[in-house]
């Protein structure tokens, strides 16, 4: 049995996809299925372990940890989704346009992307946070800007290879419009790679967004977010109560492992498929 779209990714690919889908569902509805109010503070319960229906206990300010993990899934997962959606869309358009038109247009786009490439994502995020104030939106914007040249570069390469295929030349000679060739033929033929790159980027985006929140420049306390929770739990670690940091860190690692493995398998498949 094989889900269409995951064909050729093996059992592991399917398991990873299941983990990701589950995580995304939690990201969408997590705040509503949380057993307790994730923001309810009771300092008397700080670092108290699992108790009754508080399945994994409390954090340093006495908030229910499980509820905070569930609620925190939203920013931790939907933030990266937004980053990837923007970067992949803009990156694909730039890549296909550069590959199709070539010449000056390609030179200018490539040069602009090269300059943008000189800014690491986290650095852009710090500068943007300084300018617009720290917020999730600033961080998402910064990472989308940082990732666009990356994905555009990769896709430009494969769009150029596809552009050089003779079937594209044959359709040009037939007189089919450029947009039709790109939309009906070129993009569908590199779609596998676009999806694979999206998955790889999702992993990076999750790590970087969480890191930015960890630095205090993304999602702001007291809002629940996995990156924020790792940061808030740091004091607990030094005092011998590592559960908050570890739990949030584990959530991040599990999702990123799943995303990376799936991305790798999708990339393999896209390359194998390229005849």
């Amino acid at each position: 049995m094989s889900v269409p779209g995951l064909r050729g990714t093996g059992l592991l690919g399917h398991v990873c996809a299941a983990v990701i889908v589950l995580a995304l569902i939690v990201g969408a509805v997590g705040a509503w299925i949380a057993p307790h109010d994730p923001d309810f503070v009771d300092l008397d319960l700080a670092y108290v372990g699992p108790f009754a229906d508080h399945l994994i206990g409390f954090d340093g300010r006495g908030r229910d940890l499980l509820s905070r993990l569930l609620a925190g899934a939203r920013t931790s997962l939907l933030g990266p989704v937004a980053v990837v959606a923007v970067a992949v869309t803009v990156g694909t358009l730039l890549a296909v346009a550069a590959a199709w038109f070539g010449g000056m247009f390609d030179t200018i786009v490539s040069a602009a992307l090269d300059v943008l490439f000189a800014f690491p994502g986290i650095l852009i995020a710090i500068v943007v946070a300084a300018v617009f104030g720290p917020s999730l939106r600033s961080a998402v914007l910064a990472l989308a800007v940082a990732y666009t040249p990356y994905i555009a570069r990769v896709l430009r390469g494969s769009a150029l290879r596809e552009r050089a295929q003779l079937y594209i030349a044959a359709l040009e000679v037939q007189g089919l419009a450029a947009v039709a060739i790109c939309v009906r033929h070129l993009i569908p033929n590199i779609l596998g790679l676009i999806v694979a790159q999206g998955a790889v980027l999702f992993g990076y985006a999750m790590v970087d967004l969480a890191a930015i929140s960890f630095l205090g420049l993304g999602v702001q306390t007291p809002q629940a977010d996995w990156g924020v929770m790792v940061s808030e739990g740091r004091n607990g670690v030094l005092q011998g109560y590592p559960l908050e940091s570890l739990a949030a860190g584990l959530c991040i690692v599990v999702v990123v492992v799943a995303v990376n493995l799936l991305g790798e398998r999708l990339t393999d498949r896209a390359q194998r498929g390229a005849r």
């Binding site: 090269d114 300059v115 490439f117 000189a118 800014f119 690491p120 994502g121 986290i122 650095l123 710090i126 500068v127 943007v128 946070a129 300084a130 300018v131 617009f132 720290p134 390469g157 992993g203 790590v207 969480a210 890191a211 960890f214 630095l215 205090g216 420049l217 990156g227 790792v230 940061s231 739990g233 740091r234 670690v237 030094l238 011998g240 590592p242 940091s245 570890l246 860190g249 991040i252 690692v253 990123v256 492992v257 990376n260 493995l261």
Partner: protein, 315 residues
Amino acid sequence: MLRFLLRRLAMLVATLLVSSFVIYGSLYLAPGNPIAALTGGRTPSPEAIAILEARYNLDEPFLVRYGLWLKGAVTGDLGVSIPLRQEVSDLITQRAGVTAALVLYASLIILVVGIGLGLLAGLRAGAVDTTVVVVTTISAAFPAFVAAIVLLLVFAVNLGWFPATGEGDGFVDTIRHMTLPAVALGFTSMALVARVTRSSVREELGREHVQTARSRGIPFRLIVRRHVLRNAAIPITTIAGLTIASLIAVAAVVERAFAMNGLGAYLVTAASNKDFAVVQGIALVLVAAFVIMNTVVDLLYALLDPRVKVGSRAQ
């Protein structure tokens, strides 16, 4: 080769110029009034405003201020931190050493462990390979700050082998303080380098020219050394260079986690305090380091691959 070098240097300068403009420009556009920051919210007298504007060049148009800043930057003068009333370049030099040492140490770990594991897995199929693949899959997904927390917990808090915070004095003490941060910083990149090493070794082993060498009776270990490793060095250099350059930014996270007084952590503090002169200064230094690193990788690439001819760019 000389033309390639000149071209690459020209590109480096152009990128740095554009980057400096972007950095300066974006912070110039930021909302907020530097005079208000200078006077700490009190309403200053018109004379005071005039004096402060002249002192900090606030009365000049944007391009002139950019020009002055850039001119200063080239000579090592990055202006004055308005809230701290200190030279930005002093603030940077005090902290640059920590970040540089951290990145260097992490790079060493990445190169030795990453390439070592990759070679092992690439040349030995079976259990060794599988182990390396599993280990690197997990470590590739470990963000630096999570790795930092886990290392803190295990080696600093529970085992007490390494200190949890600070930078240390003297060589041995510095190494002791830097080990955990460096491992945390290099954790992901090490895995990345290992995977690229493994796959390029595999790919080179399957090449036709390797088959030629086999058909000519060259012993396997010589084939590995002369053909496989030499050729795989090209992609390995590229990925190692790129990923090490990216550490320059990620260092902020690790410095923060281990409460170290480095450039990155200070950049974050300055960004939170809206200390724009410091943000500009540090951002410029970090971008410059990043771009120079990438240029060095490109040049290495050209040295390693004779096919990179004059005028053509490494893709």
